[in-house]
Symmetry: C4
Subunit: 205 residues, 4 copies
């Protein structure tokens, strides 16, 4: 009985969080603006205009998979959690704040990728994920201190494995932010490389 109630409790936070992830990931598309061409797109000018938007596509795809992986991580973490308390609730809220914020630096990156502001845009973009990484650590700490929130059967090894696998995120995103001042393409490459890394190292979810 108690366990069904707890299930429902974590269930409603998961549902709310899933909603926020799903909406944030879908809102990314709103930053892609239809090109308005003087000649109505004649002589292949529409095709050229659509192709010239490639920085927007790059930013869209990178952010899409980053949010998807953040969701998968969130999902994996909640599988270990049995019940929630107030610090955990607000640590989760802080993480969701970062998730809802992602479409904004994505739009900034898309706008400035080929312009003089590219280093700033890249650092702003990667910097957002530095803070998001910190939010994940905070949430994980809220879940594990005293282990009161975790399910009884969770092995110490699983907890350490979790922490180890995501430890790479923070320095990598810091590096990506700094690299923007050399070339914003390194920033994008690191961000894409990270989600390839996380996909490849994922155990079966």
């Amino acid at each position: 009985m108690a366990s069904a109630v707890e299930e429902k409790e974590t269930g409603r936070i998961e549902a709310f969080s899933d909603g926020v992830f799903a909406i944030a990931i879908t809102l990314l598309i709103l930053e892609l603006k239809v090109p308005h061409l003087e000649g109505g797109g004649e002589g292949g000018s529409l095709a050229r205009a659509l192709a010239a938007q490639w920085p927007s596509y790059v930013a869209f795809v990178t952010s899409f998979f980053t949010i998807l992986i953040m969701w998968a991580n969130h999902h994996a973490m909640f599988r270990l959690v049995r019940r929630i308390d107030t610090p955990f609730l607000y640590a989760n809220g802080f993480l969701l704040l970062l998730v809802t914020f992602v479409p904004y630096p994505t739009a900034v990156l898309a706008e400035y990728l080929r312009k003089p502001g590219a280093p700033t845009a890249g650092a702003f973009y990667a910097g957002t994920f530095v803070v998001a990484g910190a939010a994940y650590n905070l949430l994980w700490r809220a879940a594990t201190r005293g282990r009161g929130l975790l399910k009884p059967g969770v092995a110490e090894e699983t907890i350490l494995g979790f922490a180890r696998r995501y430890r790479v995120g923070l320095p990598a995103y810091l590096l990506a932010a700094a690299a923007a001042f050399v070339s914003v393409y390194i920033t994008v490459a690191i961000c894409m490389g990270l989600w390839v890394f996380w996909i490849l190292t994922a155990r079966n979810a």
Copy 2:
């Protein structure tokens, strides 16, 4: 059997409400507009433009946590509710109307925080939460009159504690609305102070 049906009933309203909360909280980001700079953001002008948007960040974060706390309160209230009737359904609808409205005063506040219209913007912002507070009282009253909707085991103490804790909201938001005519920063400080207060006084959710 009856209890499973009731569970499903309140479940669908909760799911719908969760959806509205999740979408409203995620739409807040749409008010942040990418700065379009003549020189393409050269010479640090993009960094300055992003920094100059701080009123938008303040409005975004304040509204985000306010909606998050409204959601947590809604969540806590529904834990006590066993079944719903029509007045409760529409009192909940009225509350959701206010929730979906929040992005608009947020955008107005962000736009006018440093302009002559700041007092009006601040009063409009805090005034929205005055009405939202009234909607909460209405919903709580719809839930508790005759106690027909509450779960059997809910103690009188819990009900009073609930009412007591949220009673502070209405006068505080009224004060925040009035304070806007002295300084809009007092308004923002009170709004932020309120969610810190509610986070700190929250029992384990």
Copy 3:
């Protein structure tokens, strides 16, 4: 076992439909645009600008409660449904098409309520609900032909009561559309009157 599977089946359509309702109702706010004032809102000009937006508030509130009632009706209908088939699935899809469409006539009405285009805007607005009413009839017919989709215990009386209560919608919205050519305020009054009528005649949901 079979019943649990069926429950899950209708459950996923309900969840998807709830999502569409929740998003459509929340997107309404995006039509409210922050006024951009030359003087930065000095001398009460922001307050006047916000007050001058009343047609948008009227359209927002009317559409909000109309979608809320459409959701409540959908909810009430699905309580009687045990399983779904393909015609029901696409009749439901047609209804959702109308639900997602509502923000558009709402924005048109808000824009033209005090302009020469008001009759057209009012007729377009009410006309949308004429089609939505037809979609409800279609869905209800898909649910009841042969009664194969309804739960076993549903009384004939309940089915007739359902049909009777919503029969008023179609002619009332047709009248509202026609009345727009006399005065768009009659249109709005009928639309608001309808949801007051449906709230008052609702059995306990």
Copy 4:
């Protein structure tokens, strides 16, 4: 016990996917822009302006039903799936990427349907569904290789029927993309014809 856990696992991906489908389908309406008329819509000019938007309505309805059918297919596929692994999770993510992308080619098609850029717009639109079709094949392959993810009772016949029914999509959308260079209306007709075909051939969902 294990089965309840698995149910919850696929349940959370389904809920997340449903959210993305529901949001993408509802965001389509944001591409419809209220016409701003100089004379305030006098002398029937608003009615003419609303009628002149028919390419937007065509694009809206076509994309709405296409996403609805993608959702129904997704739904039908998940009914056969018992548990998920990492490749399946990211194949699903790739499909969702395409779903969230749909509002963009829809807007491009609506903008250029009657302009010189129509062939490009039509090919871009149909091309999106070519890729989406490939994503479905990928997901279905991830589900069926080794059959480890499917429910035990799923007949070979069901699996083949599934594959057969959707095999028509890829060449049909390729044809629709190529046909845009003859006439964009053929493209639209094929896209609409496809969802009529899928609705008619659907077994009871």
